[in-house]
């Protein structure tokens, strides 16, 4: 590749081979974007973590390119969002074309007052490299390259893995194993588990090309374009003047033939014009699948990312959902390891992220059905929608070139405290929703989310909380920080100002309104008035306390 040289990370002989082995709280299998994110989150929470990867470099070729607003917010919390944003290409607008005309355009972030854009595009290898660099800054994380897991031995009170290195094999054990070893997940196979679903009968040529062009930084999707009749095509701008092109080929296409430069070039020239000057950086032919494991938690093995669930790429719901898995999992693991929560809390990782995975699978399956219709009736309706969409707005709403990744609203989570009868709210910040960002003025800068630090947080809007209550919440075993939005300063609380009134608007906040956020920034309870006992009960519930009581009663 012209624009990127894969780093070669050094292999070091593990001390374990000389007989000095230690027990790890957590081992992460796989140093992809999801595994690395897990390691960073754990290390920042003070948990020692060992990451094992069979390779010695980052992703070869680009693969995932679209990183969602939510992913950037999570990585902001982990201290590396800004690096991605600096390097990546921001975009909010998508355009959909049919034949030779534009059907419609959409803006994924139509309102101002958010720190992060709807998406940035950045090649997966850059993201992984930045995450590797972040891991290296954290003494609590150890990353071992060319350490391949070849066996797993789950036991009642721990889990052991067998690891092969260039210097021989060793065995190491941990309390928990986070399995982030990708779509083919060797560990899933070692444990005799399956990921079930469907393969779509279509093939897609995906190529990254290097080209200087003044195409805007937008997502362009074509149905049946003049340069690629009867099929679809997609164009995305990435960093370093690299562009992602994606051509639908049909099921009959021969992957080996299509990958040859002499077959790729005519397609690209037809799309970009004879005069366009470009070089192919990387190309591959894919089929897409939607699969998921029946459960993501298997004892002490916790499956995340593509190992747990796989979606077709229309909608950027793969890597982004994997990073949300980790965001959901790690704080729960921390509470468990500190013996502040029952094991049942981990089952809510399973239920919450299976809910999210099913939402992603449904969305991408629907998009794939539209792009790759199965059968004549499906194709006829698709073509009818496209024909009508040229002239009628109702049909544009039916056109589906991918519904882009947004975080799941965990409305039915057992960790939520339902709104009380006196606590009527409007707007989107229902229990289970991800906290929306808003511009503020505060000690940690101009954004609300920058003031959240990975623990339970109470947002108190223009409320006069008793100082003793704030101190109690801060001193509880499961600590809860208090952020005051306006009002007189209280000791132990962080005071911020709702700069443009957007916080109040997005949270439908009135004086005395309180929101309780989980460590992963999901809303778990809200009230119109502060009541210490209710806040503490909601924290107990959100950390599995209620579930544990129920479990004890059931037993």
């Amino acid at each position: 590749m012209k624009t990127y040289t894969n780093p070669v990370y050094p292999y070091a002989k593990p001390a374990d081979l000389d007989g000095t082995t230690r027990h790890w709280p957590v081992i992460v299998a796989g140093a992809g974007p999801v595994g690395l994110t897990a390691a960073i989150d754990l290390a920042l929470r003070g948990i020692d973590v060992l990451v094992l990867d069979e390779d010695n470099t980052v992703s070869v070729g680009s693969r995932a390119i679209c990183w969602s607003k939510r992913t950037l917010e999570i990585l902001d919390r982990l201290g590396c969002g800004e690096r991605l944003v600096q390097k990546g290409v921001r975009w909010n607008v998508g355009r959909v074309f049919f034949q030779d005309e534009q059907l419609y355009e959409f803006d994924l972030l139509p309102e101002a007052g958010h720190r992060r854009p709807a998406f940035i595009n950045l090649q997966q290898y850059w993201v992984e490299q930045m995450l590797v660099e972040r891991v290296a800054e954290l003494p609590q994380a150890e990353l071992r390259w060319q350490n391949k897991i070849i066996g797993v031995d789950p036991q009642h009170d721990r889990i052991a893995v067998r690891v092969a290195t260039p210097d021989g094999e060793y065995r190491v054990h941990a309390d928990w194993l986070i399995v982030a070893d990708g779509a083919r997940s060797p560990i899933r196979g070692m444990l005799g588990l399956e990921s079930e679903g469907q393969v779509f009968r279509d093939r897609f040529l995906i190529a990254d090309i290097h080209m200087s062009s003044d195409f805007p930084a937008e997502r362009w999707f074509w149905f049946d374009p003049p340069f690629h009749r009867d099929q679809s095509a997609l164009l995305h701008r990435q960093a370093d003047n690299v562009w992602r092109v994606d051509f639908q080929l049909g099921w009959e296409a021969d992957p080996e033939e299509e990958k040859k430069p002499e077959n790729i070039l005519p397609r690209l020239k037809a799309m970009l014009g004879e005069k366009a000057e470009f070089e192919i950086e990387w190309a591959s032919v894919y089929t897409f699948q939607c699969r998921r494991m029946r459960n993501f938690r298997h004892g002490r093995a916790l499956f995340v990312g593509d190992a747990a669930h796989l979606v077709s790429p229309f909608g950027a719901r793969g890597a982004n959902s994997g990073i949300q898995d980790v965001d959901n999992l790690v704080w729960k693991l921390e509470l468990l390891m500190e013996e502040l929560a029952p094991q049942g809390l981990l089952d809510t990782y399973d239920s919450e992220r299976i809910f999210a995975a099913d939402e992603n699978i449904q969305a991408t399956t629907r998009s794939t059905e539209f792009i790759t219709p199965k059968g004549n009736a499906s194709r006829t309706f698709r073509n009818a929608v496209l024909a009508l969409a040229k002239h009628y707005s109702f049909a544009r709403r039916l056109v589906n070139s991918g519904r882009l990744s947004v975080p799941a609203v965990l409305a039915d989570s057992p960790l939520n405290t339902a709104d009380g009868p006196d606590d009527a709210f409007g707007g989107a910040m229902v229990p289970g929703a991800c906290a929306a960002d808003a511009p503020v003025k505060g000690p940690r800068g101009d954004w609300l989310l920058a003031h959240l630090n990975g623990e339970f947080t109470l947002l108190a809007f223009d409320a006069s909380l008793p100082a003793a209550a704030v101190a109690t919440l801060a001193g509880d075993a499961i600590a809860c920080a208090v952020i005051q939005v306006g009002g007189a300063p209280i000791h132990d609380a962080c005071l911020i100002e709702d700069k443009d009134g957007l916080f109040a608007q997005r949270y439908d906040a009135r004086p005395n309104t309180c929101y309780l956020l989980r460590p992963d920034q999901h809303v778990c309870a809200r009230w119109r008035n502060f009541d210490l006992a209710r806040v503490r009960a909601a924290i107990a519930r959100a950390s599995g306390g209620v579930a544990s009581v129920m479990n004890r009663e059931a037993a």
Partner: protein, 76 residues
């Protein structure tokens, strides 16, 4: 709202004739496309999800599936 299956077209023979005329000299493929567009236009006009679901259920009644669909909840 529920699906109205009582007579609701003022001049049924006129309607039927115009429906058949619509397909005159169209290939099977073209006819299928026109029918699909017609369904989409009418469905949008109706709008009500319950009525549309009911109409779909009535339409498929008595039509045996060539391939049995997967059991609900089970992935294929």
């Amino acid at each position: 709202m529920t699906l109205n299956t009582d007579p609701n077209i003022a001049a049924p023979d006129d309607f039927y004739e115009s429906l058949i005329d619509l397909h005159r000299e169209l290939s099977d493929e073209q006819s299928a496309l026109v029918n699909a567009k017609l369904i989409l236009l009418l469905a949008n006009h109706v709008g009500d999800a319950e009525v549309l679901r009911e109409a779909m259920a009535v339409a498929v009644q008595g039509v045996a599936r060539a391939v049995s669909p997967p059991a609900p909840g089970k992935s294929q």
